[in-house]
């Protein structure tokens, strides 16, 4: 299974929960908190379900809660993928 990229993650999030809110910042979008992007816990839950199906991984509730940014979540999925490989 291919690794997850943040670009692919953002695409999945758009399908699951719509476009990101406009954010005024110089930070890289992948390092912005989901909450600041406008994604709430349900949006994350929906996204997690989709990631689990697409990548064949099981995401623990605690792990999901600890992933605060797209970069965190991407790294988490890739760690889980590496474990199952």
């Amino acid at each position: 299974m291919d690794q997850l990229t943040t670009d692919r993650l953002m695409e999945i999030m758009r399908i699951c929960a719509g476009e990101v809110d406009p954010v005024v910042t110089t930070a890289d979008p992948e390092d912005i908190d989901f909450a600041d992007l406008g994604y709430d816990s349900l949006a994350l839950l929906e996204t997690a379900g989709r990631l689990e199906r697409e990548f064949g991984v099981a995401i623990g509730e605690g792990e999901l809660a600890d992933a605060r940014t797209p970069a965190d979540l991407t790294a988490l999925i890739n760690r889980l993928l590496a474990k199952t490989a």
């Binding site: 399908i15 699951c16 929960a17 719509g18 349900l42 839950l45 929906e46 379900g49």
Partner: protein
């Protein structure tokens, strides 16, 4: 439109805004124009493949593009009827020139009625559950198919943190929501957004309605829904409805609200005895109690918007109730829902919108397609637009399972 608030008492419940999403039109004006024209919106079902069902006609809302009105955030988490309700809520608030941000935090409540919840959404997710497994069910299923979903989503969208409620009384729901809103106003709530946008033209919703045995199986749209007609053979379902801004006259004056569509002068609800009990239906009692509540006599009612169930048995019950109250041919009776079909809870809410516009314009909109009204009903059925002085209207609604509701409106001045 009247800005005349003369004759209104401070504790009166007034309607200061409306949002209409109906088979007859998107928005109040389109709906009213088409309704006066007697333009039928009943046609073949397009929202799902209905070819193999015994009933294949519906009153669908045409040209509703959710993405044109709602953010991409809302689309994955909402059923079709919730999307329409959100748009109706936007329009009602705009129409009332009410800005919830200017109100106290708990200043505005929300009451909606619904019959099935987000059935189309729920249907899809249950198919995922049983077809593919629980991990394929959307997280949004946790609320998107609930009865209370429209109230919740409207509350979130506009920041309305006052009392919220959801009522489930099928077709009577549109009136019951307004009744509940008035209770909140009487408890000191200054404003409430209330009404119903409903409908579930999806395979699951269809199966549920078919089970009542009251859906018309006539394939010709002109002959499919003929309330009070010798050939009445059931109803055609539809989708849509209307939401209203209700407030006390005192609150409306305090914020400088300019528009009064009218006053909600009376409301009552009753419940029928069980079938086979031999006891009579209670529609007439609901109507009488609503008139008493409005302190009006039957001779003071200028027009009745009928429930118009469309089955001979239920039509006879309504005709008898009207005869009991008003005498034979005693009041003009109309059923503009012959153009839209029955929109579940949205149907009676749409009737309230149409009745308020009729009061404003002094025109009774027509009942269409009914060419052979049963003479024994002794109804003065309005089958072409009728221009008469209108100061008061009675709206009747019955919900599947024994609900009867009646609402009395008085005109803007």
């Amino acid at each position: 439109m009247s800005t005349d608030t003369e004759g209104l008492a401070l504790d009166d419940t007034v309607v200061t805004g409306m949002g209409v999403v109906a088979p007859t039109g998107l928005g109040r004006d389109e709906h009213w124009t088409n309704t006066l024209r007697g333009a039928s919106a009943i046609g073949p079902v397009t929202r799902f493949e209905a070819g193999r069902y015994p009933s294949r006609l519906a009153g669908e809302v045409p040209g509703f593009d959710p993405a044109a009105h709602l953010t991409s955030r809302l689309l994955p988490q909402t059923d079709h009827m919730t999307r329409m309700a959100l748009v109706a809520s936007d329009w009602a608030l705009t129409d009332a020139e009410a800005d919830p941000a200017q109100l106290p935090e708990y200043g505005m409540g929300v009451v909606t009625a619904v019959s099935a919840g987000g059935f189309e959404f729920g249907h899809r997710e249950l198919q995922n559950l049983w077809g593919k497994g629980p991990e394929h069910v959307s997280a949004y299923q946790s609320f998107a198919w609930f009865y209370a979903v429209n109230t919740g989503q409207i509350s979130i969208r506009h920041g309305l943190r006052g009392p919220g409620a959801a009522l489930v009384t099928e077709q009577a729901g549109g009136l019951d929501a307004l009744g509940q809103a008035r209770r909140q106003l009487r408890r000191g709530q200054p404003m409430v957004l209330a009404g119903a946008v409903d409908g579930s033209p999806c395979p699951w919703g269809w199966a549920a309605q078919l089970s009542t045995g009251r859906m018309s199986e006539e394939p010709d749209p002109v002959r499919a829904y003929l309330p009070f007609d010798a050939e009445a053979g059931g109803y055609v379902p539809g989708e849509g409805g209307a939401l209203f801004v209700l407030e006390t006259e005192e609150a409306a004056r305090a914020r400088g609200a300019r528009r009064r569509y009218g006053r909600m002068a009376g409301y009552a609800a009753t419940f029928d005895p069980p079938q086979g009990s031999g006891r009579p239906a209670n529609l007439e009692r609901a109507a009488r109690a609503a008139l008493d509540d409005a302190r009006l006599g039957p001779e003071e009612i200028d027009v009745v918007f009928a429930d118009a169930a469309g089955t001979s048995e239920e039509d006879a019950i309504e005709a008898e109730a009207l005869r009991g109250l008003f005498g034979p041919h005693g009041v003009p009776v109309t059923a503009p829902k012959t153009m839209t079909g029955r929109l579940s809870a949205g149907g009676s809410a749409l009737d309230v919108a149409t009745a308020l516009l009729a009061l404003r314009e002094g025109i009774v909109p027509p009942t269409i397609n009914v060419s052979r009204p049963r003479p024994e009903h002794t109804l003065d059925l309005v089958t072409a637009p009728r221009r008469i002085p209108l100061a008061t209207a009675l709206v009747l609604a019955r919900g599947q399972g024994g609900f009867n509701s009646a609402l009395v409106l008085t005109g803007p001045c």
